[in-house]
């Protein structure tokens, strides 16, 4: 057993040093009724080759995005990640290190977290960001809870453009603590509808831009309306690259940004692990959930970094913590930082324009198909089209021809009455050939 260094001789010597006759003596506190001799009914030890074959067979049954024309988005995006990123995150000192609770021997982790926090704050246009949460959806839930703490009000109004999974994940958690939510009906281009729902009990309004239908919105007016009523504006962003082209949430008046960082540095990974970006205004920082890395000096006066403001967290506040979060997204946030360091502002803006370019070309190609209507008026790299048939059927048919045509909205929200809506995403990875194949196949399927 290759991961177990103890030899039978070691075990004998150690039992002798302990004064135990057998290993069973050390398990003496286990009640007899719960003791199990023999092995649990599962396969026995397997060598690397065997494991590779078994898992390789499972992997081979999946159609990976890089091998087919691929247009799926709706909260997870296929971007090209430079080779450096994956190499660096696999260095022993990053992969196998622990949370930096002993800062003297964790400055590597702490310094990149500080860089990450700065990158995220600047990307989102906000004053401060934390060291990452699990993902965008849990970041949104945490944002709503934070808004209720800050305003001491109890209601969140959520636009009809927010990703349905995000809405459901938020509702599940905030309802448990008695926070009310009003989720507006699905709407392609109606973020501002939240304004009419703001009342004296509104802690926050939550909008998404670009939203799940791809629509990009200037939310400045929404920010003003919220602030006038004493409420906070939470902006959700599921495609981080969009902030390389579009006005930042901070610039538009956001108080809290809850975003998904997967697009930068991280693979699709069938939904996880991802990286939640969380940023807010300066004065709200003590109410922010999650880990925070701060600058300080050591005993010699040398600059260094430490986890700070920990008294918000579970290990100190226990039942009065801002959240029960312990883990952050560690390695995924490192991947984000490295990719962002390679891109720089120049690279990010260019990358964003390439994404937008592909989307424009795809939109033009699909708009030309009889029976297909483009619904999204202004978009970054994703838009919604209305098909003459249920989108799920069309997607399944195209999958049979090895084309992953996008995400039917009905997959996210079957009761929304939008069964004919398809969400189509493109990135810098999309080729003109892909677009041609999609357009042609879609035309056939819709005829």
């Amino acid at each position: 057993m290759r991961y177990l260094p103890l030899t039978p001789d070691d075990r004998t010597a150690m039992l002798a040093a302990i004064g135990a006759k057998s290993i069973n003596d050390l398990f003496v506190d286990v009640p007899a009724a719960a003791r199990r001799d023999g092995f649990v009914d599962l396969p026995r030890v397997a060598g690397e080759l065997e494991v590779e074959r078994a898992l390789g067979a499972m992997a081979a049954r999946n159609a990976s995005a890089g091998t087919v024309p691929f247009f799926c988005g709706a909260g997870a995006y296929k971007h090209h990640v430079p080779a450096t990123v994956d190499h660096v995150i696999q260095r022993s000192e990053f992969l196998t290190s622990y949370t930096p609770y002993q800062p003297e021997i964790a400055q590597g982790t702490l310094q990149y977290l500080y860089e990450f926090q700065t990158q995220v704050a600047n990307l989102t246009g906000m004053a401060v960001a934390n060291a990452s949460l699990y993902d965008g959806s849990t970041a949104m839930a945490e944002g709503v809870l934070m808004a209720t703490r800050v305003t001491r009000r109890n209601k969140a109004v959520i636009s009809g453009g927010v990703h349905p999974h995000y809405v459901r994940a938020t509702e599940t958690v905030v309802h448990a603590v008695g926070v009310e939510t009003e989720a507006l009906p699905a709407a392609v281009d109606a973020e501002a509808d939240v304004i009419a729902c703001i009342g004296p009990d509104t802690a926050c309004v939550v909008v998404q831009t670009p939203n799940v239908f791809g629509t990009a919105t200037d939310v400045t007016r929404i920010a003003e309306a919220a602030h006038a009523a004493g409420a906070l504006l939470i902006v959700v962003v599921t495609e981080a690259v969009s902030m390389g082209l579009l006005k930042s949430p901070g610039e538009m008046g956001a108080d809290i940004v809850a975003a998904e960082g997967q697009s930068i540095g991280n693979a699709l990974n069938y939904g996880g692990p991802y990286v939640g970006l969380f940023a807010c205004r300066e004065k709200l920082v003590r109410q922010m959930p999650g880990r925070l890395c701060g600058e300080t000096v050591d005993a010699d006066g040398t600059r260094g970094f430490v986890l700070t403001l920990s008294t918000r967290e579970q290990h100190i506040r226990r039942d009065k913590a801002t959240s029960n979060i312990c883990t952050n997204s560690g390695l995924c946030s490192l991947a984000f930082t490295i990719h962002m360091s390679l891109l720089g502002e120049t690279g990010l803006r260019k990358l964003a324009l390439l994404n937008h370019e592909k989307a424009l070309a795809t939109r033009d190609a699909l708009a030309a198909i009889p029976g297909v209507e483009v619904l999204t008026p202004r978009f970054f790299n994703e838009f919604a089209v209305k098909l003459p048939k249920p989108a799920a059927e069309v997607v399944e048919a195209l999958a049979g021809h090895r084309i992953l045509a996008g995400v039917p909205y009905s997959r996210l929200a079957p009761a929304a009455g939008m069964d004919d809506v398809l969400l189509v995403a493109t990135t810098e990875v999309t080729t003109d050939a892909d677009i041609k194949i999609l357009a042609s196949a879609l035309a056939t399927a819709c005829a």
Binding site: L6, M14, P43, T67, A106, A169, S248, P273
Partner: protein, 523 residues
């Protein structure tokens, strides 16, 4: 005679007594490294991209015009920057992390290889399920292993970390009480004083009042106190087993019986599952819900703080309330149940977007398959053996908090043995750094004064354990001999000395800011 190289040079070293400081502050292989924001990366990029054919003008005023504030580096510079940072980190691949409750075992590289197969890494969560049958098969197989190892009938895979798993378990419990009409009256959760902070934090989060249960002198839950606090106003108990003192709760069957009799549920914090995996099944102990930290027992990498994964095994009673989504295997293949209708009618909701931490499922399953049921049983045995070996070899120089009887996978000491030395648990821990070891868990559990909780895990060889024990014995002797400076000023040999955490909390500086007057960054 003629020779090819007539230039000689000395090949034995000079003995030099002094040790001059370097001129630049460099220290041999250890490089100092500034922030990416402090270099000359403004306006640079390390990624070659084609020229875009659009300028975004179709988006009018939505386009971002002001500088963002993101420096860029070429590939060689990026590599150097992050490799230099990595040199300042301790890591499992370097030496032991004897952190109690963290289970810092070796991270197998096969796991990384498997997780990166394009068939796993390059698939989208919302692709048609007909195109990802292998991914669903993997999730289903992992679920099977987790259920079989724990003896539980159901598992919720989606929680993204241990604390998230606790949330899942407690919400399932609350949903179960709501379904039976008892939630309004059952508003308390009982938690031992020794519990990890996430336990009361989670219970309070879900709207429960936390009531503490006392501990006996031998470090276990005080069953009499528990019994006196159980009643029809209690929703659940949250117990860690083995507990945070590293001890198996002998009365666990009685604890679960009393809990069930009172109509409450038993939530088990599975952080210490490494001590019993393959030997004891939580299902046999009466557990109703238990989260499993895949990044602890099942070796997925700690990655400097994450990502984790915290699937929750559930009893028959709680299974109907598991959150969406989950995998179903029937005659037609694998299906994903994503919404709370029909088959998921009683699910308490959804915890996150998509399916959970697939990348960690692959790694964990690769680990489980590599060990097999025989290997996993050996894991628990070696973990417990290693901890008891440390306890036996240090108990004469340090004070074990619970000296009677064996410990499980971790050994707990208090600071009684440091009395009169003026050296605290913290000072001792910092001196361990100088000797090349990451400190053990300090000041946890809170029930023991100056706690030192040591968990070696099964992947430490006897040689490494002896090296660790040797250093600890020497340090303990030095502490008792009054060698105070060694401890008070430690660490002396690490990349940084002790840090001013007060300053970091009083004047929080949480990001780099461009100097006044520069036009680099927006804020």
């Amino acid at each position: 005679m003629s020779s090819m190289n007539t230039v000689g040079r000395p090949t034995t070293p000079n003995r030099v007594e002094s040790k001059p400081a370097t001129l630049t502050g460099g220290r041999g292989l250890l490089q100092n490294e500034h922030l990416i924001f402090e270099g000359d990366g403004w306006g640079k990029t390390g990624v070659d991209l084609p020229e875009p054919k659009t300028d975004g003008s179709d988006l009018g005023d939505l386009v971002r015009r002001d500088p963002i504030g993101l420096p860029g580096l070429s590939e060689p510079e990026t590599m150097r920057h992050y490799v230099r940072l990595s040199q300042k980190n301790h890591a499992i691949d370097l030496a032991i992390y004897p952190l109690g409750s963290c289970t810092m075992k070796h991270n197998p590289r096969l796991n990384e290889k498997m997780a990166r197969l394009p068939g796993f890494a390059d698939i989208h969560p919302l692709q048609p399920t007909s195109t990802v049958q292998g991914a669903l098969e993997l999730m289903d197989t992992l679920a099977h292993w987790l259920k079989t190892l724990t003896g539980m009938p159901a598992v919720a895979l989606s929680p993204k970390a241990g604390a998230h798993g606790e949330l899942c378990g407690l919400m399932a419990i609350r949903a179960a009480h709501e379904a039976s009409g008892q939630h309004a009256q059952r508003r308390k959760v009982l938690v031992p004083t020794s519990a990890h902070g996430t336990n009361p934090a989670t219970a309070a989060f879900v709207g429960y009042t936390v009531v503490e249960v006392a501990q006996t002198d031998d470090g276990r839950v005080d069953v009499a106190d528990l019994a006196s606090k159980l009643g029809d106003d209690v929703a659940a108990i949250m117990v860690t087993n083995p507990n945070t003192c590293g001890l198996f709760e002998r009365d666990i069957l009685e604890i679960s019986r009393l809990t069930h009799e009172a109509g409450a549920y038993f939530y088990c914090d599975g952080a210490n599952f490494n001590a019993i995996v393959g030997r004891v099944r939580p299902g046999d102990l009466g557990v109703d819900a238990m989260h499993i930290n895949l990044h602890k027992t099942f070796s997925t990498p700690h990655g400097g703080g994450g990502p984790g994964a915290g699937p929750v095994v559930l009893s028959e009673a709680l299974a109907p309330f598991a959150p969406a989504p989950w995998v179903v295997h029937d005659a037609d293949g694998y299906r994903l149940i994503e919404r709370e209708e029909d088959e998921a009618a009683q699910a308490f909701g959804r915890l996150c977007a998509f399916q959970g931490q697939m990348g960690m499922y692959t790694r964990a399953l690769s680990y489980m398959m590599s060990h097999g049921s025989d290997g996993l049983r050996q894991v628990a045995e070696d973990a417990v053996l290693n901890a008891n070996y440390i306890k036996a070899r240090l108990s004469d120089v340090m004070s074990a908090a619970f000296p009677e009887g064996p410990c499980m996978h971790e050994a707990l000491f208090d600071d009684e043995w440091l009395k009169g030395t003026d050296i605290t648990t913290l000072d001792f821990a910092k001196a361990m750094i100088d000797e090349g070891f990451h400190p053990m868990t300090m000041y946890f559990p809170l029930v023991v004064h100056g706690a030192m909780l040591i968990e070696p895990t099964e992947t430490e060889s006897k040689q490494e354990l002896d090296r660790f024990i040797h250093a600890m014995r020497l340090l303990a002797q030095a502490a008792k001999a009054g060698d105070v400076e060694r401890f008070k000023g430690a660490p002396f040999h690490a990349p940084m000395k002790r840090m001013d955490e007060t300053r970091a909390a009083r004047q929080p500086i949480l990001r780099w800011t461009a100097p006044e007057g520069s036009n680099i960054a927006a804020e």
